[in-house]
């Protein structure tokens, strides 16, 4: 008995009473959206608390310790209530319509990406044929909201942050999409559910059949680009606190600011979910039949847990990187996307296509290692940057 069959049974029951199909459809839609929104709120509040604890421990501090008792677990709830009660401010010179619309666009685009997340076997809101493409394209709308926020605030820092964000997003989206094509080519589908199912086997009978092994280059490229898409360090120049105050959301306060904050953490979960689905085998993992439960329900429960564990591991890596690495400069950021990541993504795409046509999966490993070697050689052979002294002719 899966989620889909439960919904089917609900439809059948209401149809038997002679209620038009639009009514149960709407009821199911409202329930699903409420569940997703509740999950996003709770997960984002947890992630905010978690990030504060991780940052504190990396910096040899304790972080929030007081609110709620055990390690300040209720700190995010207290902050959320505080933000809800704050006065709603709109700057005088702001374009009011665009200013009000911007957080809604950012939050809406992020929530819309949750439609095709495969939580567990059979538990997915809608397994679209174009699943992964839909997620990438709907996530790209977030940048639109950021630009709207930055421009409408009538603030130089906000506009600068929005400009940087636009440049960064457009640059990093190209290698991001190209790196996602590797697993799509191996599995021969873009549907999120089928992509997970394609990873059920084993490589050489030992390793789990996750695409991260043959596609390690694509995984690293994707994860780097995903960090940039989320505006996380080392790619956080759109909201660099020390240069731009807070970037595009400097004029936002109260509930509208909370929407941006919530969307940022929800977006971190989305990019981790994409990485988990395409590279880390989604819900696959060891599981045992639980006593007193049907086999597929037990499988589903284990799948749900495995998916969450993998996602939160990736989120932990993102937080770890944020509190370890320094910020990149704008020119370094652009050069890295166009001169390093894009060639690597193209090389991976070509090698994957070649190996798939030649028809030997084992060759994928050779290809991946060859690309890594090539990149290492290229980086090593690169002429060292010349230092120019003052007064010297160049």
């Amino acid at each position: 008995m899966t989620f889909a069959s439960l919904v089917e049974r609900f439809y059948a029951a209401l149809a038997a009473w002679g209620i038009p199909w639009i009514v149960p459809t709407l009821i199911v839609m409202v329930i699903v959206v409420s569940v997703v929104l509740a999950y996003i709120s709770v997960a984002a509040m947890f992630m905010i608390w978690w990030e504060r604890k991780i940052s504190a421990h990396i910096q040899v501090r304790y972080g929030p310790m007081r609110v709620g008792g055990w390690h300040g677990w209720a700190q995010s709830i207290a902050d959320g209530i505080k933000l809800l009660l704050k006065e709603d401010l709109i700057p005088t010179g702001a374009d009011k319509v665009v200013f009000v619309l911007a957080p809604m666009v950012v939050f809406g685009a992020t929530v819309a990406a949750y439609v095709t997340i495969p939580w567990a076997p059979g538990l997915i809101v809608r397994d679209l044929n174009i699943g992964i493409l839909y997620m990438v394209s709907i996530s790209s709308l977030v940048v639109v909201g950021i630009i709207m926020a930055g421009w409408s605030s009538n603030n130089k820092y906000a506009t600068l942050g929005a400009l940087r964000s636009a440049a960064q997003a457009v640059s990093y989206e190209v290698p991001l999409v190209l790196s996602l094509l590797g697993p799509v080519m191996i599995a021969g589908t873009m549907s999120m559910g089928k992509l997970v199912e394609a990873q059920s086997g084993r490589w050489f009978g030992v390793l789990p059949g996750w695409f991260v092994f043959p596609q390690i280059v694509a995984f690293l490229t994707y994860f780097t680009c995903a960090l940039a898409e989320c505006n996380r360090l080392p790619f956080d120049i759109p909201e660099a606190e020390s240069e731009l105050v807070a970037g595009f959301h400097v004029e936002y306060s109260g509930m509208r600011f909370a929407m941006f904050f919530l969307a940022e953490y929800a977006n971190m979960f989305v990019v981790s979910a994409i990485a988990t689905t395409l590279f880390l085998g989604g819900w696959h993992g060891p599981w045992i039949p639980l006593p007193g439960l049907p086999r597929d329900v037990a499988h589903g429960l284990f799948g749900l847990v495995w998916f969450q564990v993998k996602c939160y591991f990736l989120i932990f890596v993102m937080m770890w990187l944020r509190w370890t690495l320094a910020r990149l400069r704008v020119d370094q950021l652009m050069g890295f996307a166009w001169k390093v990541l894009l060639p690597i993504a193209f090389a991976n795409l070509i090698v994957t296509g070649l190996v798939l046509i030649l028809g030997k999966h084992a060759l994928l490993y050779v290809g991946g290692i060859a690309i890594l070697l090539l990149v290492a050689i290229l980086l090593a052979a690169r002429p060292a940057a010349r230092t120019v002294r003052v007064g010297e002719r160049t």
């Binding site: 174009i130 493409l133 839909y134 394209s137 709907i138 790209s140 639109v144 421009w151 636009a166």
Partner: protein, 163 residues
């Protein structure tokens, strides 16, 4: 069927409203923002036509790429966001004739039916079909478009370089 028709009329009205704001808006940044809504409405219409691959690509390329570059260019141009744009210029009659001609042509095409426009083929999945068609039957036009885009890019770089 009536529900689908209702959704179509709603989406069509939404898209037309966004397009009207783009053309008639006095503030160029607001026009660009309305253009985003127009593109999203077009994507929704594609979904209604069972062309979901085209819809996703429409959002990815036009909203996620082209409109953002447009906004980028607008913001880099100093003071353009503050000045009001001229909506109508001297060529209003010529463009009105062109627009009405296009409208008549479209009405003729949709009522009498140009063969290529009638009856969309029903496909279970459009993406593999499109990919295969682009690399077999339509490989030559596809490559020609690629070369054209490359030439445009090289041209833009040559024009933009100062030396």
């Amino acid at each position: 069927m009536t529900l689908k028709l209702g959704i179509f009329y709603f989406l069509a009205a939404f898209t037309l409203w966004a397009a009207a704001v783009v053309v008639l808006g006095k503030n160029i940044v607001r026009s660009a923002v309305a253009l985003i809504f127009g593109f999203c409405g077009m994507a929704a219409l594609y979904v209604l036509l069972d062309a979901e691959f085209l819809a996703a690509v429409q959002v990815l390329i036009y909203v996620g790429g082209i409109t953002i570059l447009l906004l980028f260019a607008i913001m880099l141009t100093s003071r353009i966001g503050v000045t009001t744009a001229r909506v109508v210029n001297d060529q209003v009659i010529l463009s009105a004739i062109a627009a009405i001609g296009l409208l008549v042509g479209l009405i003729y095409a949709s009522t009498s039916g140009i063969p290529a426009m009638s009856g969309p083929p029903r496909l279970p999945e459009t993406a593999p079909f499109l990919g295969r068609a682009l690399l077999t039957t339509y490989a030559l036009p596809f490559e020609a478009v690629s070369v054209l885009l490359l030439a445009a890019m090289v041209g833009a770089i040559v024009l933009a370089r100062k030396e």
